[in-house]
Amino acid sequence: MARMRRAGAGIALATTIALLAACSSGGDTPSGDGTTAGGGNKGEAVTLQWWHNSNTGDGKVYYDKVADDFEAANPGVTIEVNAMQHEDMVDKLAAAMQSGDMPDIYMERGGGELADHVAAGLTKDLSEGAADTIAKLGGTVSGFQVDGKTYALPFSIGVVGFWYNKALFAEAGIDNPPTTWDEMYDAIDKLKAKGIAPISVGAGDGWPAAHYWYYFALRQCKQDVLVDAVGSLDFSDPCFVRAGESLQELLDAQPFNDGFLSTVAQKGATSASGLLATGKVAIELQGHWEPGVMQGITDEIGEAGIGENLAWFAFPAVTGGEGDPAAQLGGGDAWAVSEKAPDAAVDFAAYLLSDEIQKGFAELDMGLPTNSSASKYVSDAALASLLEVRDASPFVQLYFDTAFGPAIGDAMNAKIVDLFAGKASPQDIVDATQAAADLEK
């Protein structure tokens, strides 16, 4: 029996929506004076609203300075910086989008979410306004394009790969990190023989488990098939089923931590990241944020953590796969400009991607810079090796759940977890994804 509740979750949901609507129309963030509908020629006085999530420490100081410098170089432009905690920013942004009263420069994560914003007429096409910057960023902008037009400038992009414990690898007699799945299975056997749980995965949260399927799809499918799927929402190519079969093969080897189905990704010592951080498992598939996440966990429980033993290797090649073994799965954050923002906002977004600004961004470990000239300023060794792989990759596939948008992505993730639980087949994943996609057409 559950607690008697004053309002059911349904009402709570509806109330939230209603309140969001009410708050946002209240408008505590006027989007500046004289900054309406594409106007604002250069030299004219404009005020820009900039929302970001570097709300603490050096990052906040740095971004304040960036805004000041831009104001100094562009007389007449005033930038109102609004630095928020990440979740707050996401919530406020959702409200702002609902009311149409948006900040001029804000963060996008690309994929289906961005496509929805574009379809709703909220986000400005930067293809011409920031053409030089887009050319310099190269392939990384692909996740932020809709119908060939670029709507946001990625400033931090990372890739997913295997983080591992060098000491445990040495203990199990594994000399080099695996580059093929045969070597990977060999490593798994060696670790298990030593009584070490090979890999942790936070399948309780869905997406960490889903990353395995995404990666197998990336190795099994040609780049064209994946790129086309985002537009056509067609998953009929047999490579998608083969991705599930590869994953099934991995599951049959039983490499994961006990209780992986109820393990969460990043919270506490018993989470997937916590298990790697405390030396309980040897490997975890995660994104570029992993060192920071593990640091947070070990600080919290007061342990030394994995430290110098942390290293990184890319998702191994799959024998017979049609995908490029150098292609990587990843994603990141980008600066977007709202449809109604003045031209100066586009200039500012491009300025944020300049060599100079990205250099400072990299030096402060605020993310993984997308401007290749700044790559060398990333100091952390494991992160630097990840950057090398990212920069050498012909193609970075945006996380599928982001690329296809939450409606398809979450349905896909749920079915992938079902496969982890032994409750679905490789074909079921494709069928469920296609069914969710058909509803979006």
Partner: protein
Amino acid sequence: MADEATARLGVTASPATSTPTVPVAGRASARPAAGRPGGRRGNGASIRKGLEITLFVAPALALLTLFVAVPIARAVQISFFKWKGYGDFEKFVGLDNYRRVLENTEFIEAFQHNMIIVVASIAIQLPLGLAIALLLNRKMRFQGTIRTLIFVPYVISEVIAGVIWYQMFVPNEGLIDTVLDKVGLSGPQQGFLGTLETALPALVVVLTWKYLGLAVILFLAGLQGVPEELYEAAQLDGASWWQIQRRITVPMLGPTLRTWAFLSMIGSLQLFDMVWVLTRGGPANATSTMATFLVQQGMQRSNFGIAAAASVILFVVALVMALTYQRFIMNRDNTVTVVRRKKVRR
């Protein structure tokens, strides 16, 4: 939706808590007729009365409209559209969202889990709570301490209790596996919360732990109202302890039991927090409920139209079950009152 239920409860709870003192039909003379507001009043008085009621009820009614009626209406409105959480309501889909929810195997599973939890809660907590209440109803040492201990889980916030139990369920290192290990047993490899077959039973165990205290306290309160003379008389007649409980205690406790079961049922239908903290409806939807389904559809998949349709369906299910229960089960308690009234009038 629950407000409807709580409002109704306000009505039904009073006979329920007072009836233990109200003897069964035959001995109704215990209460005089004087206090009964049966007499007719003058017209002027009735108008004044009406004004008074309006005046006092208006603020509550306004709040109720703003925070209950409007959101419900809004949810119903959203349920007719395909809506992603921003932009105008453009894509009117009629009843399509309802069809999609009702055809969705995830929703059907969630509905089944709700029903299992409703039945399991009542089937487990009723006998267990009754047994504990009967034991605690005698004079004994540490009575207050034991009562408090049993009630403590109910007082702990559902989220905190969930986090504690999550940690206890962690495979190998959690308390439960450690204890099992000490006595030479072992839990499932995936842990109780990570195994398809054990996740829902494990959830029911936690819910029983959490809510047994409420049942016990309510039953104890009901027991306080059973007149001592009845027991004395029964004992004089040579009735056994078992007979006394069966013939006197349980029937006298009837209204309390029925009210508790009603609360339990409505709560089980709306179950969300504990599931979300322990399993998020997983593994593979093994513990999903209608509430986790609609949060997942709305918040995680941005299918607000579907989520709204699911919430309306949840509302209707809860309402129908509540009304049915009132009509066929709680009704008995009202009948007793009616019988009493008639006797009193004569």
